[in-house]
């Protein structure tokens, strides 16, 4: 548990917020401030805040939990080891079930995705998607949030199950990025052309980085060549970050200009 670092304390903080909300709920009739605090916390927690938190920590928590279970023996004697195994199991189960439940609920009734009530409650996985297109019965839009979780689960399976088969690992990574590039440009699920192109740019970056990964093994025996390729690999990563930072800065400045 200590390997997760600051993330462990963020997870604890989420539970603390839930307990605080329950405490404020019971005391809300005693004072107005408790009622207001309860409403604020409820607005954050249920469920957009929790969903966004779950999405962002999904990969790291799943990897650490799965690796912990992969490495540990299940007949551990020490209390801390048992607690660690239990905590890992709990986290994996909660993350998987929550994601599956969300996806099943949205697949069952896609028509309500466009409603303001849904967006304010559970809209976090669908942020950036043009939900009005759902009215045209375009269920393919659900593919994007589903792939968010699926690609992370596939990554986990690739590094644990296909441990000795590098080509399978790279093929899974390559295929998913390629499929997402095609999906984004074919269906254009985002609410603006810029958002669609930005997501495609992200997927292309991951795809290009995967192509570099094909060279970081014995197929390229010379370490100097691998080192040079490492420089280009790093440049691709940093270029992606730079483009995002520039676009964020530009859109913030535009918002400020419009507000003034």
């Amino acid at each position: 548990m200590q390997n997760i670092g600051f993330l462990f304390y963020m997870i604890l903080a989420q539970f603390l917020f839930v307990l605080l909300h329950l405490a404020f709920q019971t005391c809300r009739k005693k004072a107005d401030c408790f009622d207001k605090l309860s409403q604020k916390l409820s607005k954050y927690l249920y469920f957009n805040g929790v969903l966004r938190f779950q999405m962002e920590v999904f990969l790291e928590v799943s990897i650490y939990s799965a690796l912990n279970l992969y490495v540990h023996e299940f007949n551990a004697q020490l209390a801390i080891e048992v607690a660690s195994i239990v905590f890992s199991c709990l986290l994996l189960v909660v993350l998987s079930l929550a994601s599956l439940y969300l996806l099943l609920v949205t697949c069952a009734r896609p028509s309500r995705l466009g409603s303001e009530k849904f967006k304010s409650k559970c809209g976090a996985p669908f942020e950036g998607i043009d939900l009005k297109k759902m009215k045209e019965a375009n269920r393919a839009l659900i593919f994007w949030p589903a792939m968010f979780f699926f690609r992370r689960a596939a990554f986990l399976i690739a590094i644990l199950v296909f441990r000795g088969t590098l080509i399978a690992q790279l093929a899974i990574q390559n295929f998913i990025s390629l499929a997402l590039c095609i999906y984004l440009q074919w269906y254009e699920p985002m609410d603006s052309k810029l958002a669609t192109n930005l997501e495609t740019f992200n997927e292309l970056t991951v795809l290009i980085m995967t192509y570099f990964l094909f060279c970081f093994n014995d197929f390229v025996p010379d370490a100097n060549t691998r080192s040079q390729l490492g420089h280009y690999y790093t440049s691709v990563t940093l270029f992606n970050v730079t483009v995002h930072l520039i676009i964020m800065l530009a859109s913030s400045l535009q918002s400020i200009k419009r507000a003034c």
Partner: protein, 59 residues
């Protein structure tokens, strides 16, 4: 603000995939590993050092 946050999440989501690529069975060059090591902390929100807290809690 919301639009900028969307772009921030978008960047972080792609970086989360990128920083875990060294977990494959690969011979990563040291220069790429060095940069990835720094990016891991940002992508995983591990920005605040928790060594003192960990010492009190776990040891």
């Amino acid at each position: 603000m919301k639009a900028s946050l969307n772009k921030l999440w978008s960047m972080l989501n792609s970086q989360q995939i990128a920083v875990y690529m060294p977990m494959y069975e690969l011979k990563f060059p040291a220069n790429a590993m060095m940069v990835t090591k720094e990016m891991v902390e940002i992508a995983n929100f591990d920005l605040i050092p928790t060594d003192l807290l960990d010492e009190y809690l776990w040891y």
